[in-house]
């Protein structure tokens, strides 16, 4: 991967993706070999929106590469609450760190940050836009189970505002994947995502119900339907109930169906699915560590081509 930043999944070629995933596999196989690789370097965690797992996952990944991390803290207690622009904030933090992980409520925030600073920027979610590092760990999880070609995937839930969905759908166009999108009419894929999928000639189909296609799927990727997307709470409960799966739903599925979820889930996947062989969402979350280590390693290597890493690793 020859990229300075990771802003959107649409920037990634098949080779880029496979290179990071190969490295993630190497990291997972021999984490000790990477333990001091970026000793002395600092990763800045800039979360303008609440996050638990993404923030901790990057924090952990960085520390396992020997890095230190600095955290902007909650937005309420930072300079942002004094009215500082994102442009200024990232320019200042650039001087404190060797790379920057950014989550922000506005679409396009990471693109702006990438234009303002020279250190690598990783988009950890920009509004309803993109979440490409999640996609890399999603792809890693899929690849370990099924491979990424000749794949049939169902992506279900909030497809309109779901940034993990937007990134995943874009990245899958680099592979031989049939994509089924299952959602209520009001939460279908946005025009911009649909545009990109059509541009690539991707094979996509849209559905309002899961049942008719569940037996065709290798992977079912479930996302949360958020209450705040609906003006009426009753409507939310009705719709959310229709896109909830449990162990019985999966009776009709192939034995090797993999069920994924970017988490946190609320009740769209019933706890009884956890005990089935289909459930993979906790491993998926754990895969965030080797994948984000591989990603940070790659971006830092690109940013420091002379290579002053302490440890030589056969890659």
């Amino acid at each position: 991967m020859r990229q300075d930043h990771l802003i959107t999944a649409t920037q990634l070629s098949r080779d880029d993706i496979e290179a990071v995933l190969d490295r993630a596999r190497a990291v997972a196989d021999d984490p000790a070999a990477y333990a001091d690789r970026h000793a002395g370097r600092v990763l800045a965690l800039c979360f303008f929106e609440p996050s638990t797992r993404t923030r901790m996952s990057f924090d952990s990944a960085a520390k396992r590469l020997g890095m230190n991390t600095i955290d902007m803290g909650d937005v309420d207690s930072s300079s942002v609450s004094k009215g500082e622009s994102l442009s200024d904030t990232v320019r200042v933090i650039e001087g404190y760190a060797d790379a920057l992980v950014l989550r922000h409520p506005s679409e396009g925030a990471a693109t702006l940050a990438g234009e303002r600073v020279d250190v690598p920027v990783v988009n950890a979610g920009d509004g309803a836009g993109q979440h490409p590092s999640q996609t890399l760990l999603d792809l890693h999880t899929i690849r370990e189970d099924h491979g990424l070609d000749d794949l049939t995937i169902g992506i279900m839930g909030d497809l309109k505002y779901g940034r993990t969905v937007h990134s995943l759908a874009a990245a899958l166009t680099e592979f031989d994947a049939n994509q089924h999108f299952i959602s209520p009419e009001s939460l279908r894929l946005p025009r911009s995502v649909r545009f990109d999928l059509h541009e690539t000639g991707a094979q996509i189909r849209e559905h309002e119900e899961l049942d008719p296609i569940i037996d065709e799927l290798d992977v079912l990727y479930v996302t949360r339907i958020q209450k705040e997307r609906f003006p009426d709470e009753n409507e939310y409960h009705r719709v959310a109930g229709e896109y909830r799966i449990d162990a019985e739903t999966l009776d009709a599925a192939a034995d090797d169906l993999t069920v994924m979820h970017p988490l946190p889930r609320v009740d769209e996947i019933a706890p009884d699915v956890d005990d089935t062989d289909h459930a993979r969402y906790f491993e998926q979350a754990h895969n965030g560590i080797p994948v984000r280590m591989a990603l940070l390693d790659t971006l830092l290597e690109n940013a420091n081509p002379d290579g002053d890493e302490g440890t030589e690793v056969d890659r």
Binding site: S85, L86, S87, E107, G108, T111, D126, G127, F195, D196
Partner: protein
């Protein structure tokens, strides 16, 4: 001919934007940032019969020439337009507009949640795609409603 001249008189020096899609003349003025307060002489013809377009609008602005970014956005709402530079009542230059690859700083993004609408020191930037423009920051696509998002 004489009826035409009665509607929109000739100008001595300035720009005539001809073959504008009927109904877009006021948007053309908006792109040029002209609201009358600048003191330029401005003539507007709307729904004028045209061989090429059926009906067209014409905008004549005295003592004013167009910048490239103005022409770029103009091309999106008036792709058939011709731009005539007039000096001493004569057309000295006549150009068709061409579709640009992108437009910078002229359109506002319709997505209220886009970072370009968040009080950042930032110019909007749109790529021109098949049948519209697309925000470089949030990827929102604008099609027939481009004229509503001219921000000048």
């Amino acid at each position: 001919m004489s009826e035409h001249e009665l509607r929109v008189s000739k100008i001595r020096d300035g720009t005539v934007i001809d073959h504008v899609e009927a109904g877009q003349a006021l948007n053309v003025l908006a792109i040029l940032g002209i609201d009358g307060a600048e003191g330029f002489g401005v003539s507007v013809g709307m729904n004028v019969p045209s061989d090429r377009l059926g009906r067209k609008d014409i905008v004549k602005v005295e003592d004013r020439e167009l910048s490239q970014s103005e022409v770029d956005v103009l091309s999106l709402i008036a792709p058939e337009a011709t731009i005539n530079i007039v000096r001493d009542f004569e057309v000295v230059e006549k150009n068709r507009v061409t579709r640009p690859e992108g437009v910078t700083g002229v359109l506002s993004c319709p997505n209220r949640n886009c970072i370009t609408n968040a009080d950042e020191p930032i110019e909007t930037r749109f790529d021109v795609v098949a049948d519209g423009v697309r925000c470089d920051y949030c990827a929102t696509i604008l099609r027939s409603d481009i004229a509503e998002h001219i921000d000048v």
